[in-house]
């Protein structure tokens, strides 16, 4: 475990207010979920999970096919698709559109994928204003913080924190009633929606047979982001594609129930291309960015690739005894909780934070609540094994590095080098077929054997080069 990870965990554990906030919020979401998927409320819950898992498995196993089908259908309806391999390509794409149209103001609806590539920071670096419009995300943008939770981003902020943030950034009188705080944000953001040239959204699903982007939300900010500005850009991970619009029946029943215990989120938008002839409103231009950013690295392994089934409901966070103690900001990347513990090491490499796959009691609760049946504990075990293998490789490399450092030091000290050479030559074993294959007992250590197993060492000459040079 890195010092940073350890320090963040301890800071969270020692903050009593934060502990209470995390515990209360996740507890409430957890209870609501349990009620919403109970056998009385949703008798076919288990069949729906099985179906959702089967669809995701099929879609990921045939990902290239469904991406191309999606792309064809978006373009058939007048939209455009841009494949981007990383953060730079996404921001370059948005910047090129903004530059062409002379746009300065961008409104954004909640998207974990854009958090992943630091899109706001990148756009602002180039002089654009990019405003988060989900209330929680807006609060965090003003506070310059990352989301604490996939679904409830500002879970760690109290109304008093929010009052301070609004007073500091918006220069409004101190207001501590959430209803009035919401009204303040509504008024500021309403104007941004009406003035913005570009709206950037994420995507909960990409529907291959329709070329549609599906967005699920409660506030109406995603609807406004995709309706008011002339240009809509949806940024989505390539794993979001599902084959058919009819598959939404399964996923929509599971998503809101697992996330917040709602039967459906307030707004589910199914967006297929720019506005059509005769429509009074809606965007003139419709773009979908398909982002890799490391996702293709997860595909080869049949067990680990199921991490890409995730529909970002956050249920595993709420139920995880570890997340509920260490909170969201202890995690080294934007994705927290059990899903973060399996996604982050695969996207960033296991050595990014080797402690991460171990930050779990393996109690299995995450796997049990996952609406798409990702076997998170199993993937955690695989990643633990990867961490250990990589540490073993590191250790081996360390010895080799040490040996070369000693060698380098000897090389810069000619007398010692010569002496060592003579000692070495006197100890050198006999050659077999012109090469040294074995070394005698005191030197015959496992690292030396490992080194020799891959390399041929010539037998030691009778005279060293230096001796020959002196006798010349």
């Amino acid at each position: 475990m890195s010092i940073e990870f350890d320090a963040k965990i301890h800071a969270t554990l020692e903050d009593a207010n934060l502990q209470l906030a995390i515990y209360t919020a996740t507890g409430r979401l957890k209870e609501k979920r349990i009620e919403a998927v109970s056998s009385e409320a949703l008798p076919d819950y288990q069949e729906l999970r099985t179906q959702a898992n089967a669809i995701k498995k099929h879609a990921i196993e045939n990902l290239d096919h469904y991406l191309e089908e999606f792309e064809r259908n978006v373009e058939a309806r007048g939209g455009k698709v841009a494949y981007c391999k990383d953060a730079t390509e996404v921001s370059d794409f948005v910047l090129s559109i903004a530059k062409e149209r002379g746009s300065r103001l961008i409104v954004k609806s909640k998207s974990m994928t854009t958090e992943e590539v630091d899109l706001n920071e990148r756009l602002e670096h180039h002089g654009l204003e990019s405003v988060e419009t989900d209330l929680g995300e807006y609060i965090l943008q003003l506070a310059h913080e990352k989301p604490y939770h996939i679904v409830a981003p500002a879970l760690h902020k109290t109304r008093y924190d929010v009052a301070g943030i609004f007073t500091n950034s918006l220069h409004v009188p101190t207001e501590t009633v959430p209803e009035k705080q919401t009204a303040i944000a509504r008024a500021v953001l309403r104007q941004k929606f009406l003035d913005a040239d570009i709206g950037i959204s994420g995507a909960n699903f990409l529907v291959a047979d329709s070329g549609a982007v599906v967005l699920v939300e409660n506030e109406g900010n995603a609807r406004l982001t995709t309706t008011a500005p002339k240009i809509h850009i949806a940024v989505a991970g390539i794993e979001k594609v599902i084959p058919r619009a009819q598959d939404l029946v399964t996923f929509l029943k599971l998503l809101a129930r697992s996330a917040t215990g709602q039967l459906l989120s307030v707004y589910t938008s199914f967006l297929a291309g720019p506005r059509r002839p005769g429509e009074v409103d809606g965007p003139d231009e419709f773009y979908v960015v398909l982002l890799d950013n490391g996702r293709t690295k997860l595909l080869p392994d049949r067990t680990k690739r199921q991490s890409l089934y995730c529909i970002r409901c956050g249920a595993c966070l709420n139920t995880c005894p570890v997340y509920r103690k260490i909170g969201g900001h202890s995690f080294p990347w934007v994705y927290s909780g059990p899903i973060g513990a399996i996604i982050t090491p695969q996207f960033m490499g296991v050595s990014h934070e080797p402690g991460l796959p171990f930050a779990s009691s393996l109690c299995g609760a995450c796997g049990e609540v996952c609406p798409v049946k990702i076997d998170i504990p199993r993937v955690l075990l695989e990643l633990r094994s990867d961490v250990k293998k990589s540490e073993a490789r590191e250790k081996q490399n360390r010895l080799e590095r040490l040996a070369f450092r000693v060698y380098a030091w000897l090389m810069t000290h000619p007398r010692l080098y010569e002496m060592a050479g003579r000692i070495g030559a006197s100890m050198a074993p006999d050659s077999e077929g012109g090469w040294i294959r074995n070394v005698p007992a005191p030197m015959n250590l496992p690292p030396v054997r490992a080194w020799l197993s891959q390399r041929d060492l010539p037998p030691s000459p009778n005279k060293s080069f230096r001796e020959m040079w002196r006798q010349r």
């Binding site: 729906l48 179906q51 669809i55 099929h58 045939n62 990902l63 290239d64 096919h65 991406l67 259908n73 309806r77 494949y83 981007c84 391999k85 989900d134 929680g136 409830a152 109290t158 109304r159 959430p178 209803e179 919401t182 509504r186 953001l189 309403r190 929606f193 529907v207 070329g211 409660n218 506030e219 109406g220 609807r223 406004l224 309706t227 008011a228 084959p243 058919r244 619009a245 939404l248 029946v249 399964t250 929509l252 039967l263 459906l264 989120s265 307030v266 707004y267 589910t268 938008s269 199914f270 967006l271 297929a272 720019p274 059509r276 429509e279 009074v280 409103d281 890799d292 293709t296 595909l299």
Partner: protein, 207 residues
């Protein structure tokens, strides 16, 4: 180019080749319960009310809407059903808007937006709105209150029935929105607040 590069990486990782056929996707899972019309209407009303919305059955929708918007300004969508019901001719109601700027400024300033709905889903209390020249998106989005006038035969049982009627909604519309209750958030201390960016009040008049 990243497109070909990404697709190549996907194919290599999955052991597939370009244009390779796919196995059949798992069969679609759609289960439509049998619920008679009266029960669907009752279900719709109960669900909308559970979400803190208003819902009623009305023989005379014009009178109901007139009472609801008395003394307020309203903008109505171009849905033919609203004019058939006489709602567009109510005092204080602006309708027949075909210009974007006019629509935006009206929706941003009016107290109430009045629309019809293409369908309603009884088991979740949901309105289904398909954007078209008759139904602009902003009418159900910008004003602080939304009234939807829905003929009773458009009330479906739920999502399963909706997607069996519209297996590919993109063939009908560029935007299908399901509205389930008033706009809401619980982002500050999990305290429920209604009317964040969309309407904080929603009323469904079933005709």
């Amino acid at each position: 180019m990243s497109r070909d590069n990404i697709l190549y990486r996907v194919r290599t990782a999955l052991g597939r080749s370009a244009g390779q056929a796919v196995d059949d996707a798992p069969p679609v899972r759609i289960r439509i319960p049998l619920v008679d019309r009266e029960a669907r209407i009752a279900g719709m009303i109960a669900r909308v009310e559970a979400l803190a919305g208003l819902a009623c059955c009305a023989a005379d929708p014009r009178a109901v809407v007139a009472r609801a918007i008395a003394g307020k300004t309203a903008v109505a969508s171009n849905a033919p059903y609203l004019s058939e019901c006489g709602i567009t001719s109510l005092p204080g109601v602006r309708s027949g808007i075909t210009g974007l700027e006019e629509l935006r400024s009206l929706c941003a300033s009016c107290d109430v937006g009045i629309t019809s709905a293409d369908y309603a889903l009884a088991d979740t209390g949901t309105l289904v709105m398909l954007a078209s020249p008759r139904e602009a998106r902003l009418v159900s989005l910008l004003p602080p209150a939304h009234i939807a006038v829905v003929p009773r035969e458009r009330i479906l049982t739920g999502l399963d029935e909706l997607f069996s009627i519209l297996p590919r909604p993109a063939e009908q519309t560029s935007s299908m929105v399901l509205i389930t209750g008033p706009s809401r958030t619980a982002d500050i201390e999990q305290i429920l607040v209604r009317g964040v960016h969309g309407p904080g009040q929603i009323s469904v008049v079933i005709v």
